[in-house]
Amino acid sequence: MTWIRITEIANIPLREGRKVAVGPHEIAIFNMGDRFLAIQNQCPHGQGPLADGIVSGNSVVCPLHGWKTCLESGQVQRPKDLRECVRSYPVRVEDGIVLLQIEDRADAGGKPAERMCTA
């Protein structure tokens, strides 16, 4: 699996998110200060742009209707007890560049691309 060079870290301001399209994937990358996190950009509720949300701890709040999603696991945390989730992506930083790892279908052994949450 390859790491894809996305952008310079300065392009994602502290505690904000930015949208990036990689092939068919629309991904929101967040600068958490001590690390970067990435999840699928569409909120499972109304497809709201999660990159435009307010960061709350390790979660992001969708700007449209306030659903709250964990940036680490992709699990929806509000409303409670929903089994909804979005895909999360591994991120690392190298030489001031944010890199993403995106599992493609072949790597996933023919399974659906979205890594389902465990809830």
Binding site: T2, I4, R5, I6, T7, A10, N11, I12, P13, L14, R15, E16, R18, K19, V20, A21, V22, G23, P24, H25, I29, G46, Q47, G48, P49, D52, G53, I54, V55, S56, G57, N58, V61, P63, L64, G66, I97, I102, D104
Partner: protein, 802 residues
């Protein structure tokens, strides 16, 4: 009726008169005061300097109190002589007044160290309302202020000056701050907290000269060092005013000597407060004067019996976020005395209890004063604590909540600022049927001062009032569990200039979509541009200055002041709509044009092509001023609503408000632009304007309340501005004007805006002007974005086939 003359219109004299009035009427009372103000709460001057209270807020007894109690009041007259043989007093206005009984309550004056240059312009004391006023005028952001004296008053002055924006240094002669109340370790903890507040502290510094040619330029110290200063406050202690006592031939030592009945050596002369000496002790704090006043009132009215046995000196520093409490005796180097200590440097908590013969003799609390009342009670009661020593440092609360309250004696002062005892509160509850904290404040004034006794008052009410309803503390949100009022104060006093800082210090460090925008607003209001705006704490609309729509696109509404446009503007709008394939162009309810379905990356280009400023239709801020055509065209118009509306919009545009603010100006009472359902509306009529506020036509429908009727257009605009700024400062975030006016009541709002004293009005308008000067058209970020990817989508550095 006998004639009672009171020299001194301060807290001690008037509190004593209040006690005298509780006895059977016996006196024809006249009070002389050398200040020109009615009786006010001197210990709250620091709150005035810190901007927490207005000068009017600290009045204890207004003129109506003197009148209704038939008390003669002679303000601005200093008594210069007492003839105890002829039983007369002489004033500096030449008046001679005779008395049957005389009460000296002259208090004390600041001690000015004998340093050359102390008379220079720019050198102040901080002891009365006029000095406070003068300090407020001088203390401006950036000026260098020095406070000589690191005691209670000096530190409170330093904090007040720092809140006003001054660069403050405290210069103290001794090796630690508040050395009369703290031991060396406590002093160290306090110093750290004061320095964290951005106030510099210089210890062991003896000032030898005040520099400057006519007006102050700096200070020179004994060690030869110098410091620059634009403003100097001397708070190096107080000296009792005993001169009159000497002139009257009384026994005077450090203070005017009184016995346990508060009698002086002359049977017709009494003295109370800071000017007296009882058992060799002169008190400089507030609680003793109430205790003395009660005894004196009994003695002077012929009910001699109660005795004054001295007070425990208990001092509390009134600086938000810096908790210091000290009472009794704390020198543990004396034989027979032992101390128990607790220190937590990380939390900044220091506690020290001094025990003598198993009883508490003194206590120092820094950083955590929650148990101060219990310690005070133990000090007073002399309870034997030898059995329970291991719990002394953390007494906790007993399982029976009522027990703590029951343990307090009726005579104990609950509210030190206003001298209200537990007994006063309990009897007020029974006599007046008090059920809420608000009623208690109204009836007894308890908890209206520094507020440190509020929880105590609540516990008392809970224990005494069967149907007491807890006033639910409305906290902003779970992330930062304080009321918005408290938070506003914290932001200001602790100089918090970023949302994250507030969350890190007072909250859970994370924050959420509720508190972050609210804190953003508070920081912006408090520092008004003099801070780093944290865009990440703001809703997406305020990051890109457009309103997010259900599909993630944005809507663009340019400002169209008063709803007036031009053919050229309309052409540009039409061209933009074509060029960017805007899916919908719509006329809004606000007399403006909305371009809907715009992509984020097109926003800056569209703004540039429009060449119009932002209409702020996406934010909690000034939306618009709707107008009717008024006298410009309408045959019924009585006022020029278009010009006035455009002017109002120009004056307020680009400013943020607690919630959206919609306005309208109409030229006649037919109200075609619906002023009466707007947050602020002007309704023109023949020869005058009505200014109305708090209207709504959204989720709620509410007819606006009349603020004021004025003849001149300029006055109508001014009234609108006064209300606007008042709402900006006083409302909670997300509180619309219609809730705001109902919460505060129009009477209070009028009193604090359009009917406020001229300086208060000017101050509101000055703050508005400052904010306006720092505001800018949000759409100017089309040329200077806040960050490089504010509007553009990130393009990956490499493409990969997936």
């Amino acid at each position: 009726m006998e004639k009672l003359i009171v020299i001194g219109n301060g807290m001690a004299g008037v509190a004593c008169v209040e006690q005298i009035l509780k006895h059977a009427p016996k006196f024809d009372i006249t009070i002389f005061g050398d200040e020109t103000h009615v009786n006010y709460n001197r210990i709250l001057l620091s709150s005035v300097l810190a901007g927490e209270k207005e000068m009017d807020d600290i009045t204890i007894n207004g003129l109506d109190w003197y009148q209704s109690n038939s008390i003669g009041l002679r303000l601005g007259v200093r008594i210069t002589g007492i003839d105890s043989a002829a039983k007369t007093v002489t004033g500096d206005d030449g008046s001679v007044t005779d008395y049957d009984k005389l009460l000296i309550a002259t208090g004390s004056t600041p001690f000015i160290p004998p340093v050359p240059g102390a008379g220079k312009e720019g050198v102040f004391c901080f002891r009365n309302l006029d000095e406070t006023k003068a300090l407020l005028e001088r203390a401006k952001p950036g000026i260098k202020a020095v406070v000589i004296g690191g005691g209670l008053l000096g530190l409170e002055a330093a904090r007040g000056l720092q809140v006003q924006g001054a660069d403050v240094t405290v210069v103290h002669l001794m090796d630690r701050l508040m050395e009369r109340q703290l031991d060396p370790v406590g002093g160290l903890y306090l110093k750290r907290m004061i320095e964290d507040m951005n106030v510099k502290v210089l210890l062991n510094k003896s000032t030898t000269e005040i520099l400057g040619n006519g007006h102050l330029e700096g200070l020179r110290f004994k060690d030869g060092e110098t410091i620059d200063a634009d403003l100097l406050v001397i708070a190096a202690g107080i000296r009792p005013n005993v001169e009159l006592g000497r002139k009257a031939g009384l026994n005077v030592q450090r203070g005017i000597v009184v016995n346990d009945f508060m009698e002086t050596s002359d049977p017709d002369i009494f003295a109370v407060g800071e000017c007296v000496e009882h058992n060799g002790v002169v008190y400089g704090l507030v609680a003793p004067l109430y205790e003395q006043g009660k005894v004196l009132a009994a003695t002077i009215t012929g009910n001699r019996g109660p005795v004054y046995k001295g007070s425990i000196s208990a001092a509390k520093l009134k600086i938000m976020g810096i908790d210091v409490y000290s009472a009794g005796f704390f020198d543990d180097t004396v034989a027979g005395v032992e101390s128990i200590r607790y220190e937590d440097p990380a939390m900044g908590v220091y506690k020290k209890l001094v025990l003598k013969d198993g009883c508490l003799a003194g206590v120092i609390l820094v950083g955590d004063v929650t148990d101060s009342h219990r310690y005070t009670e133990w000090l007073k009661s002399g309870a034997d604590l030898s059995k329970d020593r291991k719990n002394l440092l953390f007494p906790g609360s007993s399982p029976d909540k009522g027990l703590d309250i029951a343990e307090i004696s009726d005579a104990e002062t609950i509210c030190g600022c206003n001298g209200v005892t537990k007994g006063d509160i309990v009897s007020a509850v029974h006599a007046k049927g008090i059920q809420t904290l608000a009623q208690l404040k109204e009836c007894t004034r308890a908890s209206t001062g520094c507020g440190s006794c509020t929880s105590m008052c609540q516990s008392l009410l809970r224990a005494v009032v069967p149907e007491f309803e807890e006033e639910r503390k409305k906290v902003l949100c779970g992330c930062v569990p304080f009321s918005q009022e408290n938070l506003r104060e914290m932001v200001r006093s602790q100089q918090l200039k970023s949302v994250q800082e507030i969350l890190d210090i007072y909250g859970n460090g994370a924050g959420c979509e509720i508190c972050k925008p609210a804190l953003s607003y508070m920081v912006d209001m408090a520092w008004c541009g003099d801070h780093e705006e944290d865009r990440s704490a703001r809703f997406i609309n305020d990051r890109v200055h457009a309103n997010i729509q259900r599909d993630g696109t944005f809507s663009v509404i340019p400002r169209m002041r008063g709803g007036v446009t031009t053919p050229a503007e309309l052409r540009r709008i039409a061209d933009v709509a074509d060029k960017y394939n805007v899916p919908m162009v719509k006329v809004t309810g606000s007399q403006r044009i909305d371009l809907l379905g715009v992509k984020k990356e097109d926003l800056p280009k569209i703004w540039a092509d429009l060449g119009m400023p932002s209409g702020q239709a996406y934010t909690k801020g000034v939306r618009m001023v709707k107008t009717c055509v008024g006298t410009t065209f309408c045959r019924f118009g009585t006022q020029d609503s278009i010009t006035t509306g455009i002017e109002l919009e120009r004056r307020l545009e680009n400013l943020f408000t607690p919630h959206k603010t919609k306005m309208a100006v109409v030229g006649c009472p037919r109200n075609c632009a619906e002023s009466t359902v707007k947050d602020i509306g002007l309704v023109g009529q023949e020869g005058s304007w009505q200014v109305v506020v708090g209207g709504a036509a959204g989720k709620n429908v509410r007819k606006a309340d009349l603020l004021i009727t004025v003849e001149e257009t300029a006055d109508a605009l001014r009234a609108a501005e006064l209300f606007f700024q008042y709402y900006r400062e006083q409302a909670n975030y997300l509180e619309r004007t219609y809730d705001f006016v109902e919460r505060l009541g129009m009477e209070k709002i009028r009193k604090e805006t359009v009917y406020a004293p001229p300086p208060v009005q000017e101050a509101l308008l000055t703050r508005l002007a400052k904010a306006k000067a720092l505001s800018k058209d949000a759409w100017s970020e089309r040329d200077t974005p806040a960050n490089p990817t504010q509007f553009v989508q990130i393009q990956p550095l490499e493409t990969v086939a997936l």
